[in-house]
């Protein structure tokens, strides 16, 4: 039983179920549903892959390992496996000093859950010496309003006993006392 106009589509292309309008009439005055909550959660086992596994194994030994592309010579840290310029695997492992230059930074004024750091604080991109890619880190042991581009910094590692296959082994970066780097020396990495 339906008084709904049937779609003019050819047979087999469309089907429209019969609607009983009396059911709709019975809903009159019923409180409408304004929102529903449908929690969704999916769990995954992360695959680090060949290059990132090498990087994380290096971390567990207190080493910052980059990988060089044999074609363009750029050094990525961490490498995700492919040179994004040439599309070939990065296979030459390069141990980098945990000293570098701040190329960019921001002052964080918003609290993130689980961070446990007093705001405001500075997050920065740091290019380790000899690398062509900046890593993300916190800048500490200096007031946030004194952080600047070109600032020379060193990694503050966790205690060796706490090293894991994790980038979090570098707790933060701090000024190493060297004079600021020339803009020319890091402008390619901004």
């Amino acid at each position: 039983m339906s008084d709904v106009e049937v779609s003019p589509f050819p047979e087999g292309l469309w089907s429209q179920p019969a609607v009983d309008p009396s059911a709709i009439a019975e809903l009159e005055g019923v409180e409408p549903v304004k929102s529903i909550r449908t929690p969704a959660r999916l769990d995954y086992t992360y695959t680090a892959g060949i290059s990132q596994s090498r990087f994380l194994r290096g971390m567990a030994e207190g080493k910052l390992l980059g990988e060089r592309c044999r074609k363009c010579g750029k050094v990525y840290v961490p490498s995700r496996g492919a040179c994004p310029v040439d599309g070939i695997p990065t296979e030459e492992i390069v141990e980098l000093p945990s000293v570098g230059t701040v190329t960019s930074f921001c002052v964080v004024n918003v609290e993130f859950t689980g961070r446990g750091i007093d705001i405001p604080y500075a997050s920065a991109l740091v290019v380790p010496d000899g690398a062509d890619l900046a890593v993300f880190g916190l800048i500490q042991e200096i007031p946030h309003d004194q952080v600047r581009m070109g600032m020379r910094v060193e990694a503050k590692w966790k205690d060796e006993a706490d090293w894991e296959t994790s980038f979090e082994n570098i707790e933060y970066w701090r000024p190493n006392g060297e004079p600021d780097a020339d803009y020319e020396s890091y402008k390619e990495h901004i």
């Binding site: 089907s15 695959t47 680090a48 995700r80 496996g81 994004p84 040439d86 599309g87 070939i88």
Partner: protein
């Protein structure tokens, strides 16, 4: 219309689990093999289109990460579909038709092993009515199989025979996840996974990648002596809500097959993307394939079902047979969504 051909193909082994390589590391050797085989570099390819989904490996912007493996610098013309690579091929084919490109790289990949695939696939459903119930993909396919059995169009034995034939065919496919000789009576004696589906009615979960190069007209003839020409290409969708569909039929496949001109000539080979046995019965009927046609000589999706790649792999399997001269004209089909909701049909031939 421009004549467009598949001039080169490559695929990885579709393994149950690739846990030593991430997505780009899994894809890169396939791209390299394809380009080296054709003697081209990324600079020779006017357009690049990929198909994948972040939900499989749980990797945000997965396709951006895998673009690194293409060599996208200097900047390339690039696009992505959140769909099987067969739809990426469609976009690239349209791009070539517009004249904006003469060549295109199309690839897709899926790494399903990091997650719980049947649950992950439930996220394709609408978030209000079906999604909150978390119906897994096997249960959805079971509804379809039950409807088919109840209609009298097939028996459980027919379905078991499809599984046995597919996995025997896959013995010649070095990329398959599952292959071998199975016995119909033995597998019919097994318990149901989700009634009426037994394990053999379901596809394996596979990790892998596939890639092709498309080229138009004379450019195709320059790149290979044996292009597999796209003679027809069309894709259609059925309504999303399962309850509004006759699950024993696939009107969208029938329309796509008609528009692609499947039955305008004889068919030597058909590769159907039917992850579940019952779906092969439905697709054969919708496309209008006779019993004499060689269906899924690769083993099909019952032998290797890399999500987002298995549809494009069907096209590759037909193209390879045409390029090898073992088939003159063939049809490939790709599907997406639950219970054959979206369907693409591609007709390939040795002549443009």
């Amino acid at each position: 219309m421009r004549d467009v051909a598949i001039v080169g193909t490559a695929q990885s082994v579709h393994a149950r689990r690739i846990d030593d390589r991430n997505e780009v590391e899994m894809l890169m050797p396939v791209l390299q093999e394809l380009k080296d085989g054709l003697g081209v570099t990324q600079a020779d390819l006017d357009f690049t289109c990929s198909g994948s989904t972040d939900y499989l490996a749980g990797q945000g912007f997965s396709f951006v990460g895998t673009l690194d493996g293409v060599g996208p610098y200097p900047p390339i013309s690039e696009s992505h579909v959140e769909a099987d690579g067969a739809w990426a091929l469609y976009e690239a084919w349209v791009k070539i038709q517009t004249g904006a490109a003469d060549t295109a790289l199309v690839y897709s990949y899926g790494k399903s092993s990091p997650g719980d695939l049947p649950r992950v696939l439930s996220r394709q459903l609408d978030p209000y009515y079906y999604g909150p119930l978390w119906p897994d993909s096997i249960s959805m396919a079971a509804l379809q199989a039950r409807a088919l059995l109840d209609s009298g169009k097939a028996t459980e034995r027919d379905l078991a025979e499809i599984a046995v034939r597919s996995r025997a065919s896959a013995k010649d496919n070095p990329f398959a996840t599952i292959s071998g000789d199975f016995d119909v009576d033995e597998i019919l004696a097994e318990d149901h996974v989700v009634s009426p589906l037994r394990k053999h009615d379901c596809p394996p979960v596979s990790d892998g990648a596939v890639a092709i190069v498309l080229a138009a007209d004379d450019r195709a003839r320059e790149l290979t002596d044996t292009p597999a020409w796209i003679r027809g290409l069309d894709h259609r969708i059925d309504v999303h809500a399962i309850g509004l569909r006759d699950l024993t039929d696939s009107p969208s496949t029938r329309l796509a097959a008609g528009a692609a001109g499947v039955n305008d000539g004889a068919i030597d080979v058909a590769e159907l993307h039917a992850p579940f046995t019952a779906q092969e019965v439905i697709l054969r009927e919708a496309i209008g394939l006779g019993d004499d046609i060689d269906v899924n000589p690769s083993g099909g999706a019952l032998a290797a079902n890399t999500m987002m790649a298995a549809g494009l792999v069907r096209i590759v399997e037909v193209a390879n047979r045409i390029s090898a001269g073992t088939a003159g004209r063939g049809v490939a089909h790709a599907t997406a969504g639950h219970c054959l909701q979206q369907n693409l049909v591609c007709v390939l031939g040795a002549e443009p």
